[in-house]
């Protein structure tokens, strides 16, 4: 089996230092929308300057390089055991090169492992065997500040008057945005999952963040709700960094999961503006990045 370690290091470098064009464009639009000379606009100008600088110097966009979350889709014949080893050694090597901050802390002893390698869930790696002969690795770096303001609701929620329907979903998501204020490095991107159990629901709310920022949900009801939640979040006036302003959320992505009759969870993963995600594709001898 082919050794992908070097390509994986490059994937990590790009993810950490080179913000994807869809997120950058969305930030530029936000900058132009904010009032001239406002703290909100100046925050966005600084953010965009930082994006350019990080790309030019190959330095991390943000010092919190987060939890590395990998999704590997592999054709028959690859060894997931070996792929895992390669991903882990790429993570350690990328940490040494300062593309990543050592982020894996033992919760019981408080010891930082120093190389970003923790237990089996750090880095997080999902494997799925797929048809065809193309292998893809998607990587997302999920920062801690924004992870901390994520939320999960069990519906119905009487305090918010949120029932088990899309109207209830809308209320709890807005509640999460309102509670988050600027803490998750607004403007954020909302990953929302409806249904599942507590665990699968949270996973789905992260997975949905891999969708391109500008794409539209195939389900027309969800597409409408996504747009509405983005608009209404922005009406809250929290603004970039919580300074106040027109842009609190850049986009909302919603997905659904089957649930038990007894449960109705809504999970919100808040992704900060530094939405670092990239993809590696291996086709025969050829390796490409997007």
């Amino acid at each position: 089996m082919r050794d992908l370690t070097e390509s994986l290091i490059e994937l990590i470098r790009r993810t950490s230092t080179d913000l994807s064009p869809d997120v950058q464009q969305s930030l530029e639009q936000a900058r132009d929308r904010e009032e001239r000379g406002s703290a909100a606009q100046s925050a966005l100008i600084t953010i965009l300057d930082n994006v350019e600088l990080s790309r030019k110097n190959s330095t991390p966009i943000c010092q919190d390089t987060g939890t590395p979350i990998f999704y590997v889709r592999y054709p028959e014949g690859w060894s997931t055991r070996r792929l895992r080893e390669q991903i882990r050694s790429a993570i350690a090597a990328a940490t040494k090169k300062s593309y990543l901050r050592p982020n894996a802390v033992d919760s019981l002893t408080d010891k930082n492992s120093g190389n970003n390698l923790g237990d089996d869930a750090f880095p997080t790696i999902h494997f799925e065997e797929v048809e065809g002969d193309e292998l893809t690795v998607e990587l997302m770096l999920k920062g801690g500040g924004c992870e901390n303001v994520g939320a999960q609701y069990s519906l119905p929620n009487s305090q918010l008057g949120a029932g088990r329907d899309l109207s209830g979903v809308r209320k709890v998501v807005l509640d999460a945005v309102q509670r988050a204020q600027g803490q998750g490095c607004a403007p954020g991107i909302l990953g929302v999952s409806i249904g599942g159990d507590r665990g699968s629901s949270y996973y789905a709310s992260k997975e949905v963040l891999f969708r391109p920022l500008a794409d539209e949900n195939a389900n027309p009801d969800l597409a409408k709700l996504e747009q509405r939640l983005t608009d209404e979040s922005n009406q809250l006036g929290i603004g970039p960094m919580g300074f106040g302003g027109k842009t609190t959320v850049l986009a909302t992505k919603i997905t659904g999961r089957h649930r038990l009759p007894a449960s109705f969870f809504v999970s919100v993963s808040y992704m900060c503006w530094a939405h670092r995600h990239r993809k590696l594709t291996v086709r025969g001898e050829e390796v490409s990045y997007e």
Partner: protein
């Protein structure tokens, strides 16, 4: 833009108001979760006995914090092998986690500026009035840009806490931030929270 030089005088602090952009220069210390818990338990409250090099570190950081600044940040640092340290990425981390400790730490060590992101609560706002001091909001995520204002890494204490949690001592030039909590009891965060809460209540009442 107001320029601030460390150590900061009371007069300079009282001259700052919510909303002022500032450029900060001088020597300051990084400290986040582990550091605040350690400072609070070992020295402020003294519920924990000093251990290892605790007292030595205390003596070293006391003059730094007196009139100084504490930056909530866990940086990416190059040169760990050679000890020829260089900051590669150094944006702020979420400050509210230090809310239980911050005001006491400010009063005890005479800290004049707390730098971070996301703002802090009523206890720290009171701390800002008492010290007197300010909360400076840096741009979250602007890590490469902020790292460029670090002209020199002067040293590090308690590297055993881990790279992100250690007390890095750095010299900065024109570090950019905005005053969001001042010594006059004003907090931009309290204002935005109140306004957004009212808007949220309004939206809740809108039919689906």
């Amino acid at each position: 833009m107001k320029t601030l030089t460390l150590p900061i005088s009371n007069e300079a602090i009282l001259d700052l108001h919510k909303g002022d952009p500032v450029a900060l220069s001088g020597v300051m210390m990084l400290g986040r979760d582990t550091v605040h818990k350690w400072l609070y338990e070992t020295f402020v409250r003294q519920t924990r006995q000093p251990q290892d090099d605790d007292l030595e570190v205390y003596e070293a950081i006391k003059p730094l914090l007196n009139g100084g600044a504490i930056y909530h940040c866990g940086p990416v640092v190059a040169g760990l092998d050679t000890k020829d340290y260089r900051f590669v990425a150094a944006g702020p981390t979420t400050s509210i986690r230090e809310e239980p400790y911050q005001a006491d730490v400010m009063r005890y060590f005479n800290v004049k500026a707390v730098i971070g992101k996301g703002g802090m609560g009523p206890k720290t706002l009171q701390g800002c009035q008492d010290a007197p001091g300010v909360y400076l909001h840096a741009i979250g995520g602007a890590a490469s840009l902020i790292a460029q204002t670090v002209v020199k890494v002067l040293g590090v204490h308690k590297l055993s806490f881990g790279v992100p949690e250690a007390m890095w001592v750095i010299e900065v030039k024109d570090f950019p931030a905005v005053v969001t909590m001042d010594a006059h009891g004003q907090s931009q965060h309290a204002v935005i929270e109140q306004q957004s809460k009212a808007e949220f209540e309004r939206l809740l009442a809108v039919p689906f």
